[in-house]
Amino acid sequence: MIQVHQVSFSYNELSVLEQVSFRVERGEFVFLVGPSGAGKTTLLRLLYADLIPIAGDLSVTGQKLAKLDKMSLPYFRQKIGLVFQDFKFLPDKSVRENLALPQKLASTAPKFVKESVDRFLHQMGLSHHQHALPTEISSNERRRLAIARAVINNPVLLLADAPTEGLDLRLSLEVMALLDALNFQGMTVFVTTTDRQLAEKCNKRIIELRDGGIHFFSNR
C-alpha cells in the first residue's frame, strides 16, 4: 500500500528526512512515532503528494508519486483519507457542509451526499451539531468530524496526522478504537503520534522516526 524507498527531504538547507525506507501492506494499521520535529508531518505530506522528495521513490496505493501529474493528482487524493493535525476545516461552513465537502469534490450526486452525511453524522454522534460551525463544537467532536470527513469517500488508505494530540488517554483510546474499527473494515491506517505508549497499548506495528531517519520497527 505504501512503499517508501531511500526518501530524503529538506526545507532549504535544513535536512528533515534522510534516506527513509519502509513498507506498509494493504489492510495494516501502522503507527509512525517520533518526537516533535522528527519529520512525521513532512513524511505524511510526502505521502499525499503535497511535497516532492529531493531523492528517493514513493509509491502509495500502487501509484508512483513521481509519475503523478496535475490531471491524475485529484484521482490519487480521492483514494486517500486525510486527517490533518490542525483539522483544516472551512471555518465559515457548518459541520454538515464540512463533512460533505469531499463528496461534493468527487461530484457525488446530492441525494447520495445527503444519505452518507446523515449516516456519518449519526455514527460519529454529531447529528445534533450538524448546523454548528466547527469552532462551536468541542475538541473531541472536531476530531471525530475530521475522521468522518477523511473516510466519507470510503478511501483505501487513511493517513492521520497526530489525531490524538492534546487528548487524555481515555479520549485517545476512543479515537484509536474508531480508527481500529475502520481498519477492521479493510482500510489501511497510517497514524503519526508523539505518544509511544499509546502506540504500544494499541498493539499495532510501530515505525519510529528520529533525527530524520527510521530507528525502530516493531512487528507487534
Binding site: 487524493r77 469531499p102 461534493k104
Partner: protein, 285 residues
C-alpha cells in the same frame, strides 16, 4: 452543478467591495467605449447618406452654353483620377430648385417664367472621384486643375471626401479604443478574481488536498469573470443611455446603439471575463 454554482457565488462574495468597484470601473470604460462606437456609427451613417453625392461640384460661368459645357465634360473625363462627370444645365437646376428649396424654389421658378429674367441657378458639373484610392492632396490637386479652365466659376468640395477622412480616423480611434478598453477590462477582472482567490487560498488548498478536480475551481473563476464583465457592460450601457436621454432635448438628433450592437458590447465584455477567469484559474489550480 448546484455545488459548483454555490461555490461560484461564494467566490464572488469573497471579493466583497472589490467586485462593486470593478463593476463601476468596467461600467466607466464601457461608457467611454460606447461614446467612441456611437461617434463612429454617426460618421459612418452620414458617409453612407452622402455616398451618392459627387465629391466635387464645379460651377460654370453664366456665359458658358450647354454645348460648351458638354465639351468640358469630355475634357475632364480624360483625367484618370476622375471616375465620371455629369452635366447639369441651368434649366435643370431651376427645375430641381423647386424640389430642393420647396416654396422658395417655386417662387423663383414662377418669377423666372413670368419675367423671363435671368436664371439665378448656375450650370454645374458633378465630378465623381474614387475617394477610397485618392488622397486629400491629390483631390486638392484635381480642384486646382479644374479651376485652370476659363469656363469654371468655382469648385466646391461637397464634404464627402472630408467625411471619408473622418470615417477613417474614427475607425482607427475606435479600434484603438476597443483594444485599450479590452486590456483595462481584462486587468480589472483578473485583479478582482485574483483577490477573491487569494481570500480563499486556504480553502482552495484544502480542496486540492481533498482531491478537487481542476475544473471544479474553473467554474467559480469563469462565473466571476462573466458576472463582472456582463454586469459592468450592462451598467455602463445603462448609464450612457441615461445620459443620452437627459441630454437628448438639448442636443437633439442623437440616438442609441442598436440592439445587436448593445448585445455585441455585453457579449464581448463577458468573453473577456471568461478568458480572464480561465487564465487566472490556471495560476491557482
Amino acid at each position: 452543478m448546484r455545488y459548483r454554482l454555490k461555490n461560484a457565488i461564494s467566490h464572488i462574495t469573497c471579493a466583497g467591495t472589490s467586485s462593486l468597484i470593478g463593476i463601476i470601473g468596467i461600467g466607466f470604460i464601457t461608457v467611454l467605449l460606447t461614446t467612441l462606437l456611437l461617434n463612429h456609427l454617426l460618421i459612418s451613417q452620414q458617409s453612407e447618406f452622402k455616398s451618392y453625392s459627387p465629391t466635387l461640384v464645379a460651377f460654370l460661368k453664366n456665359t458658358v452654353d450647354e454645348a460648351h459645357g458638354r465639351t468640358l465634360v469630355s475634357q475632364l473625363e480624360k483625367n484618370g483620377q476622375i471616375l465620371a462627370v455629369g452635366y447639369t444645365s441651368k434649366a435643370d437646376k431651376l427645375a430641381r430648385g423647386e424640389t430642393e428649396f420647396q416654396d422658395l424654389g417655386v417662387l423663383i421658378k414662377e418669377a423666372f417664367a413670368e419675367t423671363q429674367g435671368v436664371n439665378p441657378f448656375p450650370a454645374s458639373l458633378n465630378i465623381y472621384v474614387d475617394e477610397e484610392l485618392i488622397t486629400r492632396k491629390a483631390l486638392e490637386h484635381i480642384v486646382l486643375e479644374i479651376k485652370t479652365h476659363d469656363e469654371i466659376e468655382d469648385v466646391m468640395l461637397t464634404g464627402q471626401g472630408q467625411l471619408k477622412d473622418r470615417l477613417r480616423d474614427s475607425e482607427r480611434t475606435t479600434l484603438a479604443g476597443i483594444a485599450v478598453a479590452s486590456v483595462f477590462v481584462w486587468f480589472i477582472i483578473a485583479s478582482i478574481i485574483k483577490r477573491s482567490a487569494a481570500a480563499r487560498s486556504e480553502e482552495i488548498y484544502l480542496m486540492k488536498l481533498l482531491g478537487m478536480f481542476r475544473n471544479y475551481l474553473l467554474t467559480p473563476f469563469i462565473v466571476h469573470g462573466l458576472f463582472l464583465g456582463g454586469l459592468g457592460a450592462i451598467c455602463g450601457l445603462g448609464c450612457f443611455y441615461g445620459m443620452l436621454y437627459v441630454f437628448q432635448t438639448q442636443l437633439g438628433g442623437l440616438y442609441f446603439l442598436t440592439i445587436y450592437q448593445i448585445i455585441s458590447v455585453v457579449v464581448a465584455e463577458m468573453l473577456i471575463g471568461i478568458l480572464a477567469g480561465f487564465v487566472t484559474h490556471r495560476k491557482f489550480a
